[in-house]
Subunit: 380 residues, 2 copies
């Protein structure tokens, strides 16, 4: 059958690692997973309990924009986290942050438009844009700028700018001034600003700044996947300018009908104080794991590391070790039994010399992974 050009998006390079890891595990080998982009913890107990109790209800469609009480509770989170008074009418519940990107790109860009994305960055920004006939324009961010774009990186002729703080894979954050400069530049050129804030809540020093603290003229995207440990539930949200609510509501109704009802019920309870306490316990584990990584990785040779302000990743420049991160990841998997992500997924140019290591797993797992990596590097 005929296929479109735009449908031919790039594969995730990490899939090769994951498939090789699965084969090794099927043969009885134990693999330490530092390639994963998700917590190993379940959804908060309170979320699961709430869903368990709701299973006797019909759980049909919700209204397209999401359960009103969930939208109000998300608005409440903006007060708690940022001191922002947010109108719940501007909150749209989405099928994960992925669904939010599809909605935002549909609402903001026409075919042929150009959108600036940071490199390294989450690969699906580029691929979703392509699948929607929008052209991603890579901004090669610099290590001295913490792998975050600066105003001069944003071309004049783009219709949109995608930012992410904390970033994936870098874990680096934009402080208030850096974010304000990007907001100003974006407004100067009349482009739409989309701020991916999915790793908010996962920070290890200064708290991340939301673009909503600086402007209402932005689409902010977030999710219950990371801080709330609910990846597989596919529930996220977006905050849009008031004059975009109607457009997004129509798009949700047609493209998705609504986010999964059961997941919305669970998400509402994930915003309870009990669930927050559980999320904070998970955060303490990540903080401990992060410190282990920072204490041990440099000594074994992974010494060029982006400052991991947030999220649960270390982005390591290994260009002194290899010019083929894919081969190095395969070698690490084969010889050390540790799965890591080649940087090529995040940066098609310089990613040949970088790796992403996740510390989202348990401390025991991370410790074993570090032991194995140290042994591998010592023998290399």
């Amino acid at each position: 059958m005929r296929q479109s050009q735009r449908g031919q998006v790039d594969p995730f390079i990490v899939m090769d690692v994951m498939e090789a890891a699965a084969r090794a595990e099927a043969q009885g080998r134990r693999i330490v997973h530092m390639e994963v982009g998700q917590p190993s913890t379940p959804a908060p107990r309170a979320a699961l309990d709430a869903l368990g109790q709701a299973l006797s209800q019909p759980l049909g469609y919700t209204i397209p924009l999401g359960m009103p009480e969930l939208r109000a509770a998300i608005a409440g989170l903006y007060r708690r986290w940022y001191g922002i008074d947010l109108d719940p009418a501007r909150v749209v519940v989405t099928p994960g942050s992925s669904g939010a990107f599809v909605l935002a790109f549909s609402a903001l860009f026409d075919a042929g438009d150009r959108v600036a994305v940071g490199e390294p960055g989450y690969p699906s920004y580029r691929q979703i844009l392509r699948a929607m006939s929008v052209q991603p324009v890579g901004m090669q961010t610099r290590a001295e700028n913490r792998y975050q774009p600066v105003p001069g990186d944003i071309p004049d002729d783009v219709q949109g700018v995608m930012i992410a703080s904390p970033g994936n894979p870098s874990g680096t954050m934009l402080d208030r001034d850096a974010l304000a400069a990007l907001v100003a530049r974006t407004q100067d050129i009349g482009a739409a600003l989309i701020s991916d804030e999915i790793y908010h809540g996962l920070d290890y020093g200064a708290r991340p700044v939301s673009a909503l603290e600086l402007t209402d003229d932005v689409v902010v995207i977030n999710s219950f996947s990371k801080y709330f440990s609910m990846t597989g539930w596919r529930v996220g949200w977006m905050v849009v300018p008031p004059d975009m609510v109607r457009t997004i509501g129509r798009l949700v109704a047609n493209m998705f009908i609504c986010a999964p009802h059961a997941s919305q019920v669970a998400a509402l309870a994930a915003l309870s104080p009990e669930a927050d306490a559980e999320a904070q316990e998970n955060l303490a584990v990540y903080a401990h794991n992060r410190q282990l990584m920072l204490d041990r990785l440099p000594a074994m040779g992974f010494d060029r590391i982006a400052p991991p302000d947030g999220a649960f990743y270390i982005y390591a420049d290994v260009s002194a070790l290899t010019d083929d991160s894919r081969a190095l990841a395969a070698e690490i998997l084969d010889r050390a039994g540790v799965a890591v992500t080649p940087g090529l997924d995040f940066d098609p140019i310089r990613g040949a010399g970088t790796l992403r290591l996740s510390y989202a797993q348990s401390t025991a797992e991370i410790t074993e992974g570090l032991d194995r990596l140290a042994d591998f590097m010592a023998r290399r």
Copy 2:
């Protein structure tokens, strides 16, 4: 903030009816809901039990194409329903049939392509296509063709053809010969064929024919929403030609990551014999409701009705009563307290003279709705 042209999709006209109904209910008035497109029954008991038991598991991301055991069980359904031996590798689990449309349109069509859609038809085909910069080309189907397209309705210059049997809003089906003729025509012009089979299982005479019984060169889309009574769970599937699996897998991974894990667990159990028995009980209710509709509607003046072979809708030509179905629906809501859907959502041209009435609710509800409609028509 800037907005795209393609994001300006049409509203659902039925939303006005639903909002007016909600206002009336908030004032204490009882409304009978014949506008709804979903069962009032919950997911099958077995599905809810399976999820209840799975809540102790992490329920993180599944692989993008879906849980292997669910894909295998869906392939098994094709054996049971149609006697087809289907490779589970061709089955892709999606976030509802809505997600499947987004994936299919991305994989098949580039910006500017043209896709033929039947009118009357499910409005979101047109809107999703527009949001993805693809041009829907309406085929005004004829009552004497059961509101289904015939080969002559398909223009030469389209890149795709969307069919649906049983159709929404018509409930009419394509028999094997009619479907074969559309397959042949589509192949003659080199267009991609997409067959929406979401109402399969809900039939009241001959069983519906799957396009997969006639060709492998088709994208078939289905869902757990209707027969399995799981609308809010947002889990559906598509069956694609073997050479399209890789493309779709990459698109799912980027655009959705995966369908909701909890919903996939529930869906797997919905394919059990116990759950099927429950779905058959629901079907018996629809069959009874349908007969009540057919027995009573013509006598009260709704006598031009498409043959409702399947689904749970009656599509009535009311052009002898009105040239403004929107106003008639508002009048019926106001005077009879029955919510119905104006045909304009399904057919922007002739829908001014049609209404869709759903019989998916309980028999008591349908009976009351018919009583109210009879009274309304007698006094009109």
